[in-house]
Amino acid sequence: MPQPQIRCLILACGNTLRSDDGIGPWLAEWAEERFAGNAAVCVLARQQWTPDLAEDIAHCAFVLFVDCSVDSAPGSVNIVEIQPRQQAQGLATHHQGAPELLFLARELFHAGPRPAKLLTVGAGSTELGETFSEAVLDAVPKACEILETTILQFLHQQEK
């Protein structure tokens, strides 16, 4: 298996034209600036997570998925560990979730076990618009803090 070159991959998802759905790409941009010049950190933002991202995942040591959540309370910030999982239902051909991408990375590109987390911010509105709801605006500092801490913790662990 090739040695990972990118140690920490931040993989964000969302549509910046659908209000709070844009929080993933916004946090990705924030992380890109925060870790600018750090070759160990790679940030990718996509409107959808598609199977071709499995190869990027296979080449990193840690992956942090960032997305909005329509199932959580508006403005709530959560981070959970995730495991590879095969897609249970067969009709989503254009979009995969984080566990399914981990599964594809493992099955197709022989990616070994790696820590993976999913950071979500509960959406208040996903209507057309380029601004966040108040709940998400209030949650931005906490989301940035968790994002930064998670990446730094991982990088420190790697250095030990």
């Binding site: 409107q47 071709d52 249970a88 067969g90 009709l91 254009h94 599964f103 594809l104 197709l108 590109f109």
Partner: protein, 473 residues
């Protein structure tokens, strides 16, 4: 009692459409239609916009083939400007268009259709998807993902974005190619050759077991249309259109963008928001034709690249004249990909490819202009009119899916009649009817596709419109 079978939406397509199959009193198929249920308003809401905004606006029509819209739109704008773009800009656009064709074809073949081909039309629908392909043939799944990534990465390198790059503008492109990017693309090419070689080999083996489907998947004579070079080789970005008849004879050659509306008309049917293009001298529906990979291979004498030429020669052995079954769109799509890889390699070794002169600048010099290009799924035509200030007063787009519309409908009818007997059908049978549409890889309403999971609801209604039964998956 007559019955109607409805498949709504048709799955594993770009966009949403539905199929209705009407059964007569004896339970035999009387008629069938493929309906596109979305409305496109791009022609209307572009009115009043400056013409130079059109490529960026029009690219938003589609998340899969925005590059084709960019290019056809930019060419229409250049007709308004009366400019000829620099050689290097034309070559860079050609490469971008081919990269898009490769990623779109990889999506169609590997993500949307390969599950039917590898696992079977009757296989468990819950496993009939890219994950099922990965489980059954991981090397093929990997090849598909890599080929899509190859095309997308080239688009990202050139246009800075995978979807809706703003790099193509009226007059050329915004920036020349950097040597490092050229070298990065060249370094990806050997793997791309290996992946498409694997796919072609696998497909030829698989196709042997689909002889029954080949017979009834839109297998009938039609006309074919596509861009072609003067030396009769395939073309995606420039050249002029050729229309051939069902026997392979040339009906009309040299159809340039500004002559398109002179010879191509659009009919309307009450069951679809997508129009039905036809060749005017033959009228509708006799003048209907097919576009896309199958049509492109049927109209050309050569691909113009060595490996693809070998594949084309083998492809043409499938029939004495034009290859008629739409099942063979899959095969043609893979040959398109091989050609695209070879052509990109050729373009990158053009001694002028790093030239800095990549843009012509001009204002309004004509009040009307048209442009055309080959999108992955077929010929795409943009036609604009402007006022003296360059504001759009009228726009018309003729997209590939509309040009394949009649053949798709006839194909659905042909397959339905073959498979549905005495009013009886199974999920596998309906999947075959859907798969006929999938061979064309239509981009319904040429709009961005749906997020997430697309359900299939099959409703059986009686002649009074009352629901008798419903199957949901």
């Amino acid at each position: 009692m007559t019955q109607t079978i409805t498949i709504d939406p048709v799955t594993r397509l770009e966009g949403h459409g539905k199929i209705t199959i009407q059964l007569d009193e004896q339970g035999e198929v009387a008629d069938a239609h493929f309906h596109v249920t979305q409305v496109r308003g791009f022609e209307k809401f572009s009115e009043g916009r400056p013409f130079y905004e059109m490529p960026s606006l029009m690219a938003r029509i589609c998340g899969i083939c925005p590059v084709s819209h960019l290019i056809a739109s930019a060419k229409a704008c250049e007709a308004i400007m009366s400019v000829r773009i620099p050689h290097t800009a034309a070559q860079l656009r050609r490469m971008l268009n081919l990269a898009q064709m490769i990623q779109s074809h990889a999506l169609s073949f590997f993500y949307l259709s390969s599950a039917d081909l590898l696992l079977g039309m009757e296989s468990d629908p819950a496993a009939r998807h890219i994950f099922g392909v990965v489980a059954a043939k991981p090397e093929l799944g990997r090849a598909g993902i890599r080929l899509r990534r190859f095309g997308q990465h080239i688009i990202e390198l050139l246009g800075k974005k995978r979807i809706h790059p703003g790099w193509v503008i009226p007059g050329g492109v915004t920036e020349p190619l950097e040597p490092a990017k050229r070298d990065e693309i060249l370094a990806m090419i050997p793997q791309a050759y290996a992946d498409i070689g694997l796919a072609l080999g696998a497909y030829k083996q698989i196709a042997e077991s689909f002889k029954a489907e080949i017979e009834v998947f839109a297998n009938f004579p039609t006309n074919y249309l596509g861009l072609i070079n003067e030396d009769e080789s395939i073309e995606f970005t420039d050249g002029a259109l050729r229309l051939i008849g069902p026997g392979g004879h040339v009906i009309e050659d040299g159809i340039t963008a500004n002559r398109f509306t002179e010879v191509i008309g659009e009919a309307v049917e009450p069951y679809s928001y997508t129009k039905f293009a036809y060749y005017k001298p033959l009228g509708y529906p006799n003048g209907s034709y097919r576009v896309g990979p199958l049509a492109r291979l049927n109209i050309v004498s050569s691909m113009g690249t060595p490996l693809a030429d070998v594949e084309l020669a083998e492809f043409k052995q499938l029939a004495l004249g034009p290859v008629q079954s739409s099942f063979h769109y899959h095969h043609a799509r893979l040959i398109d990909i091989l050609y695209g890889i070879e052509k990109i390699e050729q373009i990158l070794t053009d001694p002028l490819i790093l030239d800095k002169h990549v843009r012509a600048i001009a204002g309004v010099n004509r009040l009307e202009g048209a442009g055309q290009a080959e999108a992955p799924r077929g010929t795409l035509h943009h036609h604009y009119k402007v006022d003296e200030n360059g504001l759009i007063t009228w726009a018309n787009l003729v997209i590939a899916t509309g040009q394949n519309n009649k053949a798709m409908n006839l194909g659905v009818l042909q397959a339905s009649k073959h498979y549905i007997k005495d009013g009886k059908f199974t999920e596998g049978i309906l999947n075959r009817v859907e798969a006929v549409v999938r061979t064309f890889d239509p981009c319904l309403s040429c709009s961005t596709h749906a997020l997430g999971q697309m359900p299939l609801v099959l409703t059986l209604v009686n002649s009074a419109g009352e629901q008798i039964d419903q199957l949901i998956r």
